[in-house]
Symmetry: C2
Subunit: 339 residues, 2 copies
């Protein structure tokens, strides 16, 4: 009957060895004879012993805990990423300590302090930007940070994003090839690299076709803002016949609003999103969107982070992963379209 609080001492006593021996048996790198390993394992099994990760963390300085800072979970993309990240890290013996935050900069300061208190081995920020000052703090404390789905100008931190510039350009090509005349953009939050890059790629892309967006509005990655923006666009003298929306979450709001106005999609107007969250494939929206390959992004995030944890001399890297445009029913498809 395995009971509470059994320590390496107890195991040592039962196995007739020293506490150090027990420790060594449970420490991957350490040396112990086959005989000791056997005795100790047997005793440990019998008592139901498992090493205390907290005590271990104290002495090694490694907690095997990764801090995850996340802002909003209402955009389906993030829970999905969280789930995948947790699975991948669990498989490697790490766990995720969650910190939620409204996207206020001052708040992040506090949160990073708390993270450092817990001696997390690494930090993943999802949809959250880090000030340069904060970057510096983490670097000095030797805690690797990976920004997930957000970039940063300085070379200080690792980041994993999709190829937002290329993605924006692809959408531009697609909409231009579709023969749309007035193409508007409800952009992702201008305060985020992700939002800016998609917008820039999009405008660049249009320019190549001699076009320019009929309007660009900051949607702030927010549903209500996107709804208001859509209303404004459609109220104008020359409403758009296509809208590229900065992410799927807003695109759904846009589609709801357009239908509210009695418009047909894509008959009257095309809508293209960004992310390809599962909901985009559901019948009610059937949204044409540029996929962010969440699996590969998660994989890259974990690899980079663990790499930096295991080898502190490793340099931060900025990883961009390209995703395809997923053709569905919310936007007119050009004849002979090839991506």
């Amino acid at each position: 009957m395995p009971d509470t609080r059994v320590t390496s001492q107890d195991v040592a006593r039962l196995a007739g060895v020293s506490q150090s021996a027990v420790s060594r048996v449970f420490t991957p790198g350490a040396s112990a004879s086959a005989a000791t390993v056997d005795k100790v394992k047997r005793a440990a099994e019998q008592l139901g012993y498992r090493p205390n990760p907290l005590a271990r963390a104290m002495i090694t300085g490694k907690s095997r805990i990764i801090g995850l800072v996340v802002a909003y979970l209402d955009n389906q993309f993030y829970p999905l990423a969280l789930e995948r990240l947790s699975n991948a890290l669990q498989a490697k013996g790490y766990h995720i300590l969650v910190f939620t935050t409204p996207n206020r900069a001052d708040n992040i300061d506090k949160i990073v302090s708390e993270l450092m208190d817990y001696r997390v081995d690494g930090i993943i920020t999802a949809s959250v930007a880090m000030s340069n000052e904060l970057t510096e703090t983490c670097a000095r404390a030797g805690i690797p940070v990976v920004m997930f789905n957000r970039g940063q100008d300085g070379a200080g931190l690792s980041s994993v994003t999709s190829a937002n510039l290329i993605g924006g350009r692809t959408v531009a090509d697609f909409l231009a090839a579709g023969g749309h005349q007035r193409i508007a953009h409800i952009a992702g939050w201008a305060g985020s690299s992700t939002g800016r890059d998609r917008a820039r790629g999009f405008e660049d892309g249009l320019a190549r076709h001699g076009l320019t967006p009929s309007a660009v509005i900051d949607g702030r990655f927010d549903r209500d803002t996107a709804i208001a923006a859509t209303r404004d666009l459609m109220d104008s003298e020359t409403p758009p016949d296509a809208i590229f929306v900065g992410n799927d979450h807003m695109a759904f709001a846009v589609m709801d609003t357009l239908r509210d106005l009695g418009l047909s999609i894509p008959g009257d107007i095309s809508v293209v999103g960004y992310d390809d969250v599962p909901l985009a494939a559901w019948g009610a929206y059937d949204l044409t969107t540029l996929r962010q390959p969440v699996n590969r992004m998660v994989e890259a995030t974990v690899t980079t982070l663990l790499g930096q944890i295991e080898d502190a001399s490793k340099h931060p890297e900025k990883i961009e992963i390209e995703g395809p445009l997923i053709l569905r029913g919310s936007a007119r498809i050009p004849k002979d379209w090839t991506p």
Copy 2:
């Protein structure tokens, strides 16, 4: 310039007091003179000292970490709950360590072991059932557990759910009053208390009106299963004119499928869900559904859990929270309907 790894020793040295004094200043209950408090705070500020929670956890046995076990994050209800839980717990100085699991029982065993390794102060399981054996293990280890959105027959554990029986009954009343003739139920997973209770409440409710469900199919809280179930239902000789679906997540699938079949909602058939996730309010679905008051459920969860943590003698309690039926456009509304 606050730097890495400053300990209470360093602060003590600078402040000219003993290390214990520093500890006492940072320990809420302890006694220290105003003069010491001042000296220590000043020194701590200057060095950028913050107590190490791991060391604290070692000695007190309290980690201020709550383990959260969660199965699937694709049903919007759970990320939302997670976010709220995290916020509420953070406000109380606790943090969430996430454990994801496919819903396999054997897996849960391992996960609970890991949780106990980390000496979590409490456990919240969301949409996950606990075996009686496991319940026993936690009880013996003195770790309080609250099951969120899932109940259990034995009296061993606390649980917080909505009033699923009453909810199911309310939906039955509503659909019966709407004059529907053949009412089917695509139920939540029969392996979950939540799914069973809603189904039972629903059948009881119909019985009161002298009705019986035209069909009951286990949808397993799964989108694909729900789609298949819907197809089966509509393929039958006497297809239903109303479907009560065990949760919103499946209800969306049902609506997509019905529309695919060219049916009009609620003209040809009414659909009612359960949860009232944000998506239910969006234009594309506009789903009539029974609300699970997530805020109050989270509040109750946190209160119960922290209560048990702070007072170990407290008994587990089973809390049920009633929610209203939210009337929207997916189901015919009876004249003069009052809940």
